[in-house]
Chain length 360, copies 2
């Protein structure tokens, strides 16, 4: 397997829900007007808490400093695993599950924070630039390439092993995070970037005008039906008014979650079925029609960027069960998407993990 | 002829060129997301000086107060002249020319300020709400209707004449304004509002991302080729860099001018041929294909809103020569558009008006 360190230097930012209007101008430029920007890596995810925007330094220049914009202090580099063509044709699980043992677990053991960003096309593993020596030292089984100006330069073949660099910290496993399993069903889609103008007004509406205040985005009629693995009390206020665009069924335990990315010319969209219905059916495509995903949101309190092993906590058991998963980290929480038909198994597994210490 | 006082209470505002980014959020909503707003009258015109936004009170609520937003203090009401069907089928001139003698001149004599807004569909004559009694008293030859909640209510038939109400001021003719005749050629177009999403990204690009600073929008290579009727010195700086979207020919005496309006569900666009080339040719339509217009910009210094008779100054001689004209007032200057083939006559006529006092 090959690991590619991509040629993007990324910033991870968060825009407050109430501050989005002040960033509409640069964000629309980054999403729709590619000829006006040199940004090549852009991702924006709405959650009930905020908008997480991950973008390269060219894109980051477009965002004016503001009290509504939080910026994580580090530069992050995206890594990408290319598996052998033969392996990817098999029936094995894909997404973060596929890299759980080879990448996620070793990095967690070395106390390297990762920020995951799955898209329709691939899974990006973001690591801090300063952690790169440890990352390269840790991922023994890979041929590692660094992409520079369109060329792939071999950094380390897997025959050369430097041994483990310990990050200078004790490899303490992260505390088990509480999880939430909202009821909405998600799809992971793409479209030809040349047809992006055709969905522009719908996408603008969904991204910039459908938001509500922090708590209202999480529409809970019956908070008790949320399945929680946390003993920490959390309070979910009921949304006082349903979004007119959502169907009546959206009234139960729906999470507001919408992710758009435009990375190296590829578009990826993650949205629930309510949002999907607002788009023309003939333009968006998914790998197998009607494939739907359920979400596991990880974290009871905002996770921050320093706790390590959070992705491993969920990707490892998913790998054990051979269940595919997309994984999208945001500024506050992490989100895994698993096939709808596997959600019961995943839910059981997470429950067991949290009640039986021997499986943690 | 009938005069209709439309059911819109309008505000006339100006957004600074440097402040547009902060208004992108509400403006995109007003232009593209009709289901999210109750605004029924919206017009936005870019000039080198600023963006003039005229909108009803529902739309005005969307604009946050800001030092970048200037608001004219009055409420304005749009008037609309409906001519007899037979008259409009003839070969007579249209636009502001048609109403020069019946509306514009009498209001000028009564010292009523008007703000004109021609669109593809019609010509709106905006008057201050407080001037309405004088307007009704002055326009003797009309049946006047007030539109209220979709109904037309007769205010005054043309048989009832109250005589002239003098606005309490001396009817002093306004000073002759200097004019500029830029070289670009304009078209006045419309499109089916349902196809607005198809041109959304282009329109957004043109409206929100093509602007430059105040002076740069007026791209002058050879200031001397501007034909001026003013003895007042004016300075036009050369644009240091051409907008990448304009053709090389745009290098000479081009004025940045783009107007979009969405009024009662009808879209109107006024743009020069350079901008027009950026839109798909099959969606925009004009009354007769290839009809092009030249601009006369009126005013050497920003006109303000209190000088009366400015529209009359140009519409009267145009009426005398039977030359059609669109007329678009903005926060700083007025703009008449006349048929390309008539620009030489218009230019001569304006020159004569300014050099021979007997024709003023």
């Amino acid at each position: 397997m090959e690991l590619h360190i991509l040629d993007h230097r990324l910033r991870v930012t968060s825009i407050a829900k109430s501050g989005l209007a002040h960033f509409t101008h640069p964000l629309i430029k980054l999403i729709f007007l590619r000829h006006r920007t040199r940004c090549k890596f852009f991702s924006m995810t709405e959650t009930p808490e905020n908008y997480t925007v991950v973008l390269d330094e060219e894109g980051f220049k477009e965002l004016e400093a503001s009290s509504q914009l939080q910026v994580e202090g580090s530069v992050w580099l995206p890594l990408n695993v290319l598996s052998d063509a033969t392996a990817s044709l098999g029936l094995q699980a894909v997404g973060v599950t596929k890299i759980a043992e080879s990448v996620i677990a070793p990095l967690a053991r070395q106390h390297v924070s990762v920020f995951m960003l799955s898209t329709y096309q691939t899974d990006f593993i973001l690591v801090r630039e300063k952690d790169l020596p440890v990352v390269v030292g840790t991922l023994e089984e890979f041929k590692i390439f660094r992409e520079v100006g369109g060329e792939s330069i071999l950094v380390r073949g897997h025959d050369i092993t430097n041994g483990l660099h310990n990050n200078g910290k004790e490899a303490v496993p992260a505390a088990l995070q509480p999880v939430l399993i909202p009821q909405n069903r998600f799809c992971v889609m793409s479209l030809d970037p040349d047809t992006l103008p055709s969905i522009a007004t719908t996408l603008i509406d969904v991204l910039f005008y459908s938001g509500r205040s922090d708590i209202d985005g999480l529409q809970c009629r019956c908070p008790n039906t949320w399945w929680r693995c946390s003993s920490r009390p959390s309070v979910w206020r009921r949304s006082p008014k349903q979004d007119e665009a959502t169907s009546p069924s959206a009234d139960l335990d729906q999470i507001k979650f919408f992710s758009f990315s435009l990375i190296d010319g590829y578009v990826s969209l993650v949205m629930d079925t309510d949002a999907q219905r607002r788009f023309p059916a003939d333009l968006l495509f998914t790998s197998s029609s009607g494939e739907l995903w359920r979400m596991v949101r990880i974290g009871g309190q905002p996770l921050g960027f320093d706790e390590c092993g959070i992705v491993a906590q969920i990707s490892q058991p998913l790998a054990d069960c051979d269940i595919s998963a997309y994984y999208i980290s945001t500024f506050s929480f992490d989100h895994a998407l698993v096939p709808e038909e596997d959600i019961a198994r995943v839910s059981d597994m997470l429950h067991k993990q949290r009640t039986d210490p021997s499986t943690g």
